[in-house]
Subunit: 203 residues, 4 copies
DNA sequence: TATGAATGAGCGTTCATTCAT
DNA sequence: GATGAATGAACGCTCATTCAT
């Protein structure tokens, strides 16, 4: 019933996947066009029909990765929570979704954590704005909590956003070095949850 | 003629400084030996008398940077705090010391945040163990708190260590993009403190 | 269905025109098959049905251009002049015809003057023989004049042929850089005529 | 007695010679950096220490060639001749000097006649102005003759300049294809002389 | 010890040519 | 016949490294 023939996938996507795999393995600078060509089983020239140059492949890869992260949590509305409890639930859900993504697409995460910074030296805009956007996104949750009265008013939402994201990033990065991801998932999410909502101290 | 040469600083250190400056500006891969030579006012060959190769300079730079961070907080004993309040004081002091360091040596921080990951692709051990060490260091504070009874026992110290370090890293990275560092210092440290000890909720 | 297809022009000719236009603009080596394809509105492969390769198009272009020059003056019989005056008339007519051709088809001339030499590096025969032929053609006029007694006998007709052609070529090349071609025409033809028949000196 | 050590020649000059040889043989576009390197017995990189890029070598070659032509006839003052006879002498001398140059440095001439036009497509200024300069130089002789009254006043000096240069160029080009250069020299110079000063007709 | 000219492996990129559709 | 996506040989160029001075 579909007009789109099966088995025909976007060629750019196929190339991005191959490039993502090799770059995740060897790193952006150590990866040659020849490596990507070999991985894909195609000639060098084929890339240059779909990407302007090597940097373009890398940037597309980072943009795609950021997009997938955004998509993964797109259905969490920063303004939906009406209580600290509901926000806590959201944090738990978001944490799990990001875990799922990293587990499903480790290449993506590896490129993001190891190479994005280096790539960004050439084109600072891409990553810079992504970090800002992510910070603003988390900040929106905090601001909502402050408006509704269940989050401390003296905190600067933007700063909290960056700090929380820092914890999350550290978790995702760590995930790439762990054997049993599921084992880590629970303890990590509980830790973030506790830090955000309970503090270290107490009973 | 002097057995105690005055004004003779370690040549390695001088080269490291020059390299650090250029790499902080242009990024590791975009920096050529020629750039460092120009910065130092010396011939290319001079480097190869003090460093094995380009990668060696970079790695030494990262190691030195990590060392400086460690030195900055070396006098904070993970086992000294006897109460949550004392630990809170320690966290505040450590935060300020790291801020001081980043403000004093932004090149160092820039290399660490932008290039260390890329450099680590060639020699994963350096950075990997540093992250582990830093995590273990922070974890030691948590473990001390648990032993003394003022930190929740259900938390995994190692995970908390990584999460807290993630927040701190995010802060340092952000610091590099901010005009007025002092303005940011207070709000950032207060945020970390609040997250660690009070939680978002409350009055 | 018609045995005499109307409106069907030789496809080779159409391609040659397109190629001639682009090569005249950008030069042979800077022109890619893609440029010619774009100019023609056809796929790359189409060329390879009509021309063996890129060089073949270029050579055909040069051959065609030389042919057109030859055609333009084909009705001037080297043996028809019976006096210096008649020869002088012929020279004037030939000059005008070549001017007409260059004005009508500047692309052709541009290819000939700028690219033919470079193209000839691969296939020296084409242009070499053309130069020889042109020399021989002009020489035939001289030889006729010598036979009939109105041209100095001590001159080597072949050398005179090449020298005269050199003047004519210089004129055509110059024509491509001039705004008002008609203004140039008279003075150029008069100059060649004077040099050939009167010499610089005298009243 | 010389402060300049013997055997130490300008490296640029050495490279230009090697490049000139190879380019004269194979043509500019067919010549790779590798070919020049092989001819010189040096690495590729060496070129890039002395020339910005391939085009720079080519342009330098053309500029040098043009300079040598200019130098060869530099001591012929366009204003020195006081009579048609003296001018005729000058023309003969200039012709011989250019012949000498082409015979002594055929590579130089080959590059000029075969490749300069193609090179000029990228950088039209170099050759364009050279042609203009050469034309103006020859024109100065004509103008001098007109001022002194021994050259026809109705001729446009500039046009004559280009026409005469056209003859000379044709001669030099021809010289490259001839076995016995000396045999050609006399007949060529006499032909040009006759055309310029006597005309074809007459006894 | 210091130098920087020389090196050449290796890279990213282009583009004439092919051939399955 | 016409197409244009795919190809990969071949190119110009860079830059980390060496070594004669």
């Amino acid at each position: 019933m579909s007009a789109v023939p099966q088995g025909v996938v976007d060629k750019r996507e196929v190339i991005l996947r191959a490039a993502g795999k090799v770059i995740a393995e060897k790193g952006y600078h150590a990866t040659g066009i020849a490596d990507i060509a070999r991985e894909l089983g195609a000639g060098h020239g084929t890339f240059y029909r779909y990407f302007k140059n090597k940097e373009d492949i890398a940037r597309s890869l980072v943009v795609r990765a950021l997009g997938q992260m955004q998509d993964a949590i797109a259905d969490e509305d920063p303004q939906s929570s009406r209580s600290l409890g509901e926000y806590r639930e959201q944090v738990r859900r978001i944490g799990n979704k990001l875990f799922d993504l990293v587990v499903a697409e480790p290449d993506l995460a590896r490129v993001l954590f190891y190479d994005a910074a280096a790539i960004a030296r050439t084109d600072p805009g891409v990553l810079g704005s992504a970090v800002e956007n992510a910070g603003a996104y988390t900040a929106a949750f905090i601001r909502n909590g402050q408006t509704r009265g269940f989050v401390r008013r003296e905190l600067d939402p933007q700063v909290v956003g960056l700090a929380v994201n820092g914890m999350i990033l550290a978790g995702c990065a760590q995930l790439l070095h762990v054997r049993d991801a599921e084992e880590m998932r629970t303890s990590w999410i509980r830790t973030v949850e506790t830090l955000m909502f309970d503090g270290l101290g107490g009973t």
